[in-house]
Subunit: 310 residues, 2 copies
């Protein structure tokens, strides 16, 4: 009964092994590169596993994604598709994401980047904005994270609309669904928040077509996955003024390469994939609970739909 | 029945005269410098009036402050103290203030200034913070603006505590009162938000004594009045690290003089007195309603307590 752990940074892997080991003293928990008998591994706990690593374990009962998304696991095309994938979600992760969304939506709404540029020039220039009830904010993706974020935005006072693949009902939020509902969702939206899962149908969804349907001068917040965004379309929309600012937590390549034009773009705010970053003390508790439950019952509420991709 | 209007900028004065005139066509509304017969003036609508101007009107029934505070009126020591002062408060102003408080509290909580400094250096450095329920935020001043702001902070998830001169009860908030309650309010507080009225007993309250009782590395947000803060004590606390960042919307002298050290301080964020800035379209509606009610009944709910100073 071995649990194999992998994260890109060796120090993080050791940290997670330690935390999980403290919580599950009756299990053998070790880093991928410490595994002597691959057949002994029944569970793998991973963040961005290397292609081919998971296929080495013939008796894998489940894979645990350290995070809410499973796309980083499915990038490994050699992973046997019949092995269940357990997502790591929890109150803390939802809390962290809704804080991030509230912070950056308010920052765009109150035009703080312009005020900070004014400060840099010692310039006192009062910027008057309408109150939040006169701003329309749209949240794409209404899973745990999206629904909680949309509800907080509505509590703050924003006119909040939501969009998802299949129809959803959320109190206080006007919702739209499917490609047919996209134009009505986008029309008049001034801040667009992306919290979609990454699937074949959402890859590249943040493109010129979507930007052009927003209110002119809208802002974009992407806290989902880098490949949702067509980088070149964003740069063009910032150049034309159709989009006034983008706040990005995720990128096609992470860490974002030092020579990437986003780093120094005055209309782009970069955060290093921390919107809802799980820390080992919090995450190991959730994962230990899920692994015990899955091992006893063969299922957990946080099971992903591998075929659907999230 | 003349209403005299004064704001420091002539263009603003004209704008307000126009807006109020549209809403109150049966009244004579004019700028201070267009008044021919001072005895005809029964009401004055003002923001930062010049010393001596209001004393010129012998038949003044009430003064309307364009804003929630009345300190800018009382700075004019020649204003007859028996003349009632009407504050301008409203849902929109409360909404704008609570947005400001939520934005800047979240910005401190998530350490966005450090992330922005990292972006300027093309540096990818994940900053992990605990979720809001593990942060204690303290709001000083529990009037309309303070109470609404504290409630939104609690909704976002922060451990929220409040402090006021006299005891108050607010759902979801632990409250403290008076100088005797101040140490318990400050102990463990990581973000301190000042929304106090400016009175003789609150002037200079944000001083070394208060800073030293906060959790080390706390942040300060002052959206009340500049004289609440002892500037030199703040600079010393930022230097020592006792305070890690300050977000200031108000200053001893406004606009903040271009040579003031706050402008270029890396640990100070400056916003130009816009936390809850009333715009003429919104404000003129509130003021027209209050003036009609006061003229008919001799009172309004938004009457200030001139003796108390707010």
């Amino acid at each position: 009964m071995t649990i194999a752990v992998y994260l890109p940074a060796a120090s993080s892997t050791q940290n997670w092994c330690q935390m999980l080991g403290d919580l599950m003293p009756d299990w053998d928990i070790r880093a991928f590169d410490q595994i002597e008998d691959p057949a002994s591994v029944t569970y793998a706990v991973v963040w961005r596993p290397r292609v081919g690593d998971l296929a080495r374990f013939p008796n894998l009962k489940a894979i645990v994604s350290i995070g809410a998304g499973i796309d980083h696991v499915l990038l490994d095309t050699e992973v046997p598709r019949h092995v269940p994938v357990i997502r790591t979600v929890g109150t803390d992760l939802t809390q962290l994401m809704k804080e991030y969304v509230a912070l950056h939506t308010l920052r765009m709404h109150r035009n703080l980047p312009q005020m900070q540029a004014n400060q840099a020039a010692s310039k006192w220039d009062a910027i008057v904005v309408p109150p939040a009830p006169e701003r329309r904010v749209g949240v794409m993706g209404l899973g745990n994270l999206g629904a909680a974020s949309a509800q907080l935005l509505a509590q703050i006072g924003f006119q909040t609309v939501g969009w998802s693949r299949s129809p959803k009902e959320i109190g206080g939020i006007t919702t739209y669904a499917g490609m047919a509902g996209l134009p009505d969702f986008l029309a008049g939206t001034e801040v667009l928040v992306c919290l979609l899962p990454l699937t074949d149908s959402t890859r590249g969804i943040l493109d010129a077509n979507v930007f052009n349907q927003l209110q002119r001068g809208a802002s974009i917040i992407n806290a989902a996955r880098g490949p949702h965004l067509v980088d070149s379309d964003l740069l063009a929309a910032l150049e034309s003024g159709q989009v006034s600012h983008a706040t990005l937590d995720v990128f096609h390549i992470e860490p974002l390469p030092v020579d990437h034009p986003f780093w120094s773009h005055p209309k782009i705010t970069i955060t290093p994939h921390v919107a809802s970053m799980i820390d080992a003390p919090t995450g190991s508790k959730i994962i230990a609970r899920n692994l015990r439950l899955f091992d006893q019952t063969g299922s957990v509420p946080d099971l992903a739909d591998v075929a659907r991709g999230y």
